[in-house]
Symmetry: C3
């Protein structure tokens, strides 16, 4: 089947997937759902070792790889934080990746520099998975996001083709959005409603990908206008730690706090509301408000 | 059996145990002793994932959960230190706990803030175990401590009811003592001899629990007086990192260095001497002295 | 067989091995090669727990123990960095080791202080493996290095006895070299060519061991002279983080950048070129240059 297209391949970007590959991948995911839920167990990965290298903070991506590999019978070896690796001794990323690939069967890497994962893949003897590279991509998150959209649309007997997709928040540094635009561009006749403060707009590179695939792009800087009538609302937090000087300023950036009231006023009943998490729940945060946590339109996080 | 009382329950406080539940729990512990000692192996937890979240320093509690879960066939996914979690990105503990509970079958949390573990339990889909919450409680340590007391008393054919229990050291911030007072209060006719510097006395809340259960309380600020004639001597270190300004001062606080000479002078031959560890072995430390390490009254640490 | 000599023993120094023990050990290693390569799987360590304690930075040693133990069916519990252990609360290393030995079946420790691992071994109930102790030894690395030398010489139908071994770089603090000198001294009639800047010469203690075993020692401070005509070239980086004030100074120390050109000019075609890694790949580093990465004389890192 088309899963063979992924056999022993690096997973570096959402670029590398086609719809047929995704169909095969999601069929496998459906089949493994009982394992993910802890209701069944398999030893298919017995004896296999995942090297989990998170040089940048992560909770959910790191734990989700742990749980997936462990529930399939494999074992995980971790390196978290550059201060406990040999990189601080002047070792090149190529040397590190080459050596680790001698111990592990596969490795997942998150790194704040966009190019490190590609350099690792070049040096590695085993497949490398991009767990998030700086402001670049986050392909496995986008695979999960599309899986959620497909599942929610299937429940409603709706097609993804033709949908209106509101992308909200920090579109400049939001790598999950960058990867999701690429994946969704495989469908037809979508409208991407890019809704962000004016200093955090989506890079032209991703806009071009969507337009070249025949989709429509709308750009808004007002939250309520952007989310009106959308079929999917994909909300993100402003990633302060990456934004540098571009911290969201209320006067300049407007109000990006997505409350229950705004959802009720502007989003249809069938809308699928998603968030890759983490979200900022501090007072005054410009993010999805927890006052909407009981809204039935929120797609389940698992 | 009464273990059913714990099935899929959070373990947040020593409050939640009754003697019948403890009997069932310790019977199970006895049964699993060969596994704990590495002489037998079971796969009863195969496919299960423990999320181990230690946001505060820990060696023995963290490793004991690791070893227990692994020896029963399960796998462990770790997060240590807030700097490598999403909490620093403004995520609420409720979001973190809710998401992790989607990946794991159970989670153990240590956190310096007393309320974080209770908030996590509210948000989690799976059982949460308190691995120590600030100056609050440490229920699993107290389960182990009571297991030790029961075992040592059984060797001597003695009853716990009626015993004289000397609690020594930092009773204000010592969460293992707080949890142990609650558990021991399930027995009858005990005397708790609270022995601490005057600025580190046991909070009234725990005194009330013991007194309301019909036990006697004595309060001493002199070590030798406090330990005289006790059946159990439970020693703790002064937890400098939590005490803030309340650092033990030799002039004010007296001498709390528990030496072999003091044990010989004041404690009976049948006394059970315990320490939850870690102990401070630095010069001048106000803690159990290592000169007593060969004393046969020391209960085995495992 | 002679492996019994290692049964339940600490591994603290290369001192403790004899050639017969090494033969048995390497026979076992050969037998387990398919497991190391992930082609076969065994559950021989099922139920066993390795406590992995790296109080000093490590990637390859830590991951190699992980992978070895996991591929043999065991589980690994980690403590990395003193800030997350109880040592910062004033606990003695003896207490820490004693307690951990109650949870684990074996422990591997790396620590910047030379004596900590020996103190741990004294207190532990289970075998302790030295994973690198300060500027002391690194016995498991030397076991691997000798395994590589034996394999490469066997491919060429050459004997180790009589070989010319160039040891290059930081011989003062390079613990892998210290351990390797001890192991190689078990052979006969070797010439150790100690080649380092004048302020980073090999400690006399190790020179004495080699000379007392009947080997020849040459000392050079010029790289090209040192490597000329060698059968083994063992290169190391200058370990800046341990060298203190002894940072390699180009004016004083000469040129220790080992380039392809120098290898071609001075080393014979049969020479086995090795490096324990990590190597410093920064501009101007005094280490094995990556311009030689395709040289067929480089022994495989795994």
């Amino acid at each position: 089947m088309m899963m063979n297209a992924l056999h022993r391949q690096h997973i570096l970007s959402s670029d590398q997937f086609e719809l047929e590959t995704l169909d095969a991948l999601y069929s496998t995911a459906d089949m493994l759902r009982p394992v993910a839920l802890g209701r069944q167990y398999t030893r298919i990965l017995e004896g296999a070792v995942l090297a989990s290298l998170f040089f940048e903070a992560s909770t959910r991506t790191r734990l989700s790889f742990d749980a997936a590999f462990m529930r399939l019978g494999g074992a995980v070896s971790h390196t978290t934080g550059v201060e406990f690796s040999s990189l601080m001794k002047g070792e090149s990323i190529a040397d590190t990746a080459r050596v680790i690939s001698g111990y592990a069967d596969v490795m997942v890497i998150r790194h704040e520099q966009e190019n490190v994962i590609h350099e690792s893949a070049k040096a590695s003897l085993v497949p490398v998975i991009n767990g998030g590279n700086g402001a670049g991509e986050h392909p496995t998150q986008s695979l999960l996001d599309l899986y959620t959209i497909r599942s929610e649309f299937a429940k409603q007997d709706r097609m993804i083709n033709g949908a209106r997709i509101a992308l909200v928040g920090d579109l400049k540094y939001g790598r999950t959005i960058h990867s999701l635009i690429k994946l969704l561009s495989l469908y037809q006749n979508l409208t991407f409603v890019c809704t962000s403060p004016s200093h955090l707009v989506c890079p032209q590179h991703y806009i071009d990908i969507a337009e070249n695939a025949g989709h429509r792009i709308e750009v808004h800087h007002d939250l309520c206008t952007g989310i009106t009538g959308c079929d999917v609302l994909y909300a993100t937090r402003v990633q302060g730690e990456r934004a540098g000087g571009d911290i969201l300023n209320l006067e300049d950036g407007g109000d990006f706090c997505l409350t229950q009231a705004k959802l009720n006023a502007h989003c249809p009943a069938h809308c699928v509301v998603m968030h890759p998490l983490p979200r900022d729940s501090r007072l005054g945060a410009q993010d999805l408000s927890s006052d909407a946590d009981q809204d039935p339109r929120l797609a389940p996080p698992v």
